[in-house]
């Protein structure tokens, strides 16, 4: 840990990157959706309120916002908000399932500055992808990518959440990215949102994690990970990245109704720091909320204190621990030393995420039925 990351643990005057979910509405019902999206929330920010959020980000000099949802392109004012942000000096990357990127839209997107796009894909073939994201979603994503390529958008990103079922396809994902002139971005599955119920069956096995670590060491230069696999650093050689839980320190989430959470993977009252609609707006939440102040304070290693790998892995992901019922000062459920599995056996009750915006009949892979 460098002196800089030590300072970052104490928090910065403003986040480096914010995730901003514009809507809980989504045309898909992915079984691992981190925000349990499906239906719009009637309290979602209006266009005017969204513009005020952008104004605040500009004043705080947040240079980069990661827009998501739900499916953000469902909002009728999607382009208004994105254009307002980029013209205010707040660069945008948005995550989409690709449904609303037709040829004309791809051209419109390609003409915009300070804009980056990330298409979600969770399998290198239709069967693997659609089991997670729903029937037809593979073809939808591929069509959107084709349009972006044809429109000359340039290097967009393909975002893959690594599961037990797609981890053997890393090379195929890379080939798809190369074919489209895109950049591959793979991230860790956290047991957040609907994944609270599906994580157990979807998360990679310990052997698969070891293979992934090796693969990343070999391909690290060209593949992005959002530093999401830092718990794998306990296997020995460190992956590039800050090796830091960024929650409330360098990142946070603004959800569709303006609630501010420590990170997009912890949508739960325990990590709710405030709302952008309150007095003082987002800046007050970031700078003075009790929740963020506590996250920036010294953290104890707890049960990890006696582990020789603590420096390397920092005990892993707070969200992963929280939503598997593990104490936050202890091993990650996917601890590569096996301590997490051991801890899971005696884990406490699993907290439920705060809002469930799932459509009444969602795809429910892996949900244990009581029947």
């Amino acid at each position: 840990m460098t002196a800089l990351t030590e300072r970052m643990k104490d928090g910065l005057d403003a986040p480096i990157c914010i995730t901003w979910e514009l809507t809980y509405s989504c045309n898909l019902s992915c079984v691992h959706c981190l925000s349990s999206s499906g239906r719009r929330d009637p309290k979602e920010l209006t266009t005017e309120e969204a513009f005020r959020v952008v104004d605040e980000l500009r004043e705080m000099q947040v240079f980069y916002v990661n827009i998501g949802g739900g499916e953000p392109m469902i909002r009728r004012d999607f382009f208004d908000i994105v254009e307002y942000a980029t013209s205010s000096g707040v660069g945008v990357k948005f995550s989409t399932n690709g449904t609303y990127i037709d040829a004309a839209t791809a051209q419109r997107l390609a003409a915009m500055d300070y804009l980056d796009i990330q298409i979600s894909l969770d399998g290198a073939d239709a069967a693997t992808n659609d089991a997670i994201r729903g029937e037809g979603s593979y073809d939808t994503a591929m069509t959107a990518m084709r349009h972006l390529k044809d429109a000359g958008f340039g290097e967009f990103k393909i975002s893959v959440v690594i599961t037990r079922h797609n981890i053997a396809q890393l090379d195929e994902f890379k080939a798809i990215a190369d074919e489209f002139g895109a950049q591959l971005r793979i991230t860790r599955l956290r047991p957040s949102g609907r994944a609270v119920d599906t994580w157990e069956e979807l998360h990679p096995t310990l052997d698969q994690q070891r293979t992934l670590h090796q693969w990343l060491l070999g391909h690290g230069e060209n593949v992005l990970t959002g530093d999401s696999f830092f718990h794998l650093n306990a296997l020995g050689e460190s992956l590039p990245g800050l090796n830091l839980c960024g929650a409330g320190r360098v990142v946070c989430l603004i959800d569709p109704i303006g609630d501010v959470y420590a990170c997009p993977f912890v949508i739960h009252d325990e990590f709710l720091a405030g709302n952008v609609r309150n007095d003082g707006g987002f800046a007050a939440v970031w700078r003075t909320s009790n929740c963020f102040t506590e996250l920036r304070g010294p953290q104890s290693a707890g049960a990890c204190a006696s582990c020789g790998s603590w420096d390397a892995c920092q005990g892993g992901c707070m969200a992963a621990k929280f939503f598997t019922g593990l104490p936050l000062d202890g091993p990650d459920p996917e601890c590569v030393g096996g301590d997490g599995e051991y801890a899971l056996a005696s884990a406490g009750a699993i907290p439920r995420p705060s809002g469930d915006h799932s459509k009444p009949i969602a795809v429910q892979l892996g949900r244990r039925s009581n029947a």
């Binding site: 460098t2 480096i16 990157c17 990142v251 506590e294 304070g297 929280f322």
Partner: protein
């Protein structure tokens, strides 16, 4: 807010760690005036 293990009777690992770093290393790090981070190198963004 969830209890984050701020029990002060527990040894703080960050403090322990700084003792591991030799003085020379610590000084070298302080003197480094600039440091680049990757915009994709932060956990907590999807």
């Amino acid at each position: 807010m969830y209890h984050l293990g701020m029990d002060t009777t527990q040894p703080q690992i960050t403090e322990e760690r700084s003792e591991d770093v030799s003085d020379a290393e610590a000084v070298a790090e302080e003197l480094e005036l600039v440091e680049e981070i990757s915009i994709d190198g932060m956990c907590g963004v999807y």
